[in-house]
């Protein structure tokens, strides 16, 4: 076959494939925007779920996600530092690194069920703490992985220069190497946050949901994503419209965080 013809065929096929993929994405986004925006009113933001708004859900979702971040960031970054700076080529290091990678693709529902077993069942009630822990577990492998990879990009000469100036290893790692990798590590944290803010499965069996405004994390806790899941199945039009509005707002939030993450990285390179 003529190689120019072959080239054209392959090019056409891959263009069609790309268009199909992007097409579905835009279909989702357009439907979401169309149905979502038309359902949003001011009361959507000022009322709680019981009155047909999502105020308590937004606060609840962000509270759990932020708490998860506070827990997962120090553990994840320190674990990443251990793997790259201290772990060397020990078996233990390889084991942790591989397990962490596998965890990244662990089904989120499994994490939800796991947390249910040790933080919900023993206490006899769904609670916000359990929701946060489930989200933190989702975040951990992402943060460990990005920290590990970003530290690997820091040239070894920078470490050697620090040591040659009379620095101890831990000071060089914390004050120079981590600083040099700061942008990448921050991006990893932002992207992992964007990932968990839209998760439903880890919250279904942990925080469950709450129609009222509450900051008491020891009981059922309001969740935006679980609400969307519930509202979408209700028969009445108002509930389904609220589900569209909430979906649109959630998508906008995730998109925004992703854009910030990308902007931060682009600025530096």
């Amino acid at each position: 076959m003529n190689r120019l013809l072959l080239n054209k065929i392959i090019l056409t096929l891959s263009t069609i494939s790309a268009l199909v993929g992007i097409g579905f994405l835009f279909w989702i986004l357009i439907t979401l925007t169309y149905k979502g925006i038309s359902s949003i009113q001011l009361s959507t933001f000022t009322n709680d779920l019981v009155e047909g708004g999502i105020r308590n859900l937004l606060v609840g979702q962000f509270t759990m996600a932020l708490l998860a971040t506070v827990v997962a960031v120090p553990i994840g970054v320190m674990a990443g530092i251990y793997l790259r700076e201290y772990g060397g080529e020990k078996r233990m290091t390889m084991l942790i690194r591989n397990l962490s990678d596998i965890m990244t693709s662990a089904p989120s529902i499994v994490i939800g069920v796991f947390v249910f077993a040790f933080l919900v069942e023993p206490f006899g009630t769904f609670n916000g703490w359990a929701g946060s822990v489930a989200l933190a577990i989702m975040m951990l492998p992402i943060i460990i992985g990005t920290t590990d990879n970003m530290l690997a990009l820091v040239p070894k000469e920078l470490r050697e220069a620090g040591i040659a100036l009379g620095g101890s290893k831990h000071k060089i790692v914390l004050q120079i190497v981590l600083k040099a990798a700061k942008v990448g590590v921050t991006t990893g944290i932002l992207l992992s946050f964007a990932r968990i803010i839209g998760e439903t499965a880890p919250l279904l069996f942990t925080s469950a949901n709450n129609q009222f405004f509450t900051m008491d994390m020891s009981g059922q806790f309001p969740s935006l994503t679980v609400s969307i899941y519930n509202l979408a199945t209700y028969p009445d039009e108002a509930s389904r419209e609220l589900a569209w509005a909430a979906s649109f707002i959630l998508t906008a939030i995730v998109l925004f965080i992703n854009l910030v993450g990308r902007f931060v990285t682009r600025n530096k390179h």
């Binding site: 000469e157 920078l158 220069a161 040659a164």
Partner: protein, 266 residues
């Protein structure tokens, strides 16, 4: 010649060095004397062990687990004039002390991701100097000694990453000089720089020898002959010849040295 009255500051004796998991040593029984306030150049083809020897002198190899030393690297203690074996140092504190006395400049400029001022102050702060006025004074003095004060004084708080390659390298020299080291090790300090920056760094190194002993690894034969008082030629982990630079370049004792210098191999 006055050179022969020069005072030894460092002595390498029967040094063997093996990298982790390497089947045989990279340095095979090296003997070398480094003289105070002189510039010693180390030349030789790639892989001959010159950088390895240089990096043994301030134990930077110890950053990687599993390196093995045998033999001695003695450094003169300026307080009592006694030679002390630096390979006996075990604790991290002792190694930090050694590296404050024996500084190192690398092939690629290695500015830290912080301001110009903080780069120079970094080693001083590690040493425990906190007083702002003392830091200011020593940072200025170091930048002047490294001939970068004029370019840097208006932008001390700007990021060091914004400097050109040659400026970054001079900043790295300032950073090391600020610690008032006894010996400075240069590992091909100009091979990543353009000719003008190279000239500036070479001039700077010649100036520095008033206060500090310099050991420089270089692939550039002209650089070695321009700069150094002594030259040592290494080949396959052995020190083949050591002597006055003039003699090594004009009338070497060993055939191998002559062949390398005249470009017959390497």
């Amino acid at each position: 010649m006055t050179k022969e009255t020069a005072n030894p500051i460092m002595e390498v004796k029967d040094l063997f060095f093996t990298y982790p998991n390497a089947p045989e040593p990279t340095l095979k029984g090296n003997n070398l004397t480094i003289y105070e306030n002189k510039i010693t150049a180390m030349i030789g083809p790639s892989g001959c062990g010159k950088s390895t020897l240089l990096r043994a002198m301030n134990r930077i190899h110890d950053l990687y687990a599993g390196c093995k030393y045998e033999g001695e690297i003695n450094l003169r203690n300026l307080k009592n004039n006694k030679m002390e074996n630096t390979l006996n140092l075990k604790k991290e504190n002792q190694l930090i002390g050694l590296r404050q006395k024996v500084g190192m400049i690398f092939q690629k400029p290695t500015p830290f991701p912080m301001s110009i001022y903080d780069n120079v102050a970094y080693g001083l702060r590690l040493k425990g100097i906190k007083s702002k006025s003392e830091l200011d004074g020593r940072v200025e003095k170091a930048l002047k000694e490294a001939a970068i004060w004029k370019e840097a004084k208006e932008r001390l708080n700007d990021s060091a990453m914004g400097l050109s390659g040659g400026q970054q390298q001079r900043l790295c020299i300032a950073r090391s000089v600020a610690l008032k080291p006894e010996v400075l090790l240069f590992d091909e300090p100009t091979s990543a720089l353009d000719p003008i920056s190279t000239g500036a760094i070479e001039e700077l190194i010649s100036e520095l020898k008033k206060d500090v002993t310099v050991v420089i690894v270089t692939h550039n034969m002209q650089q070695a002959s321009r700069l150094s008082d002594y030259t040592t030629f290494m080949y396959l982990g052995d020190i083949i010849e050591f002597g006055d630079t003039e003699k090594i370049f004009l009338n070497p004792d060993e055939k191998l040295t002559e062949d390398y210098i005249t470009g017959r191999f390497g």
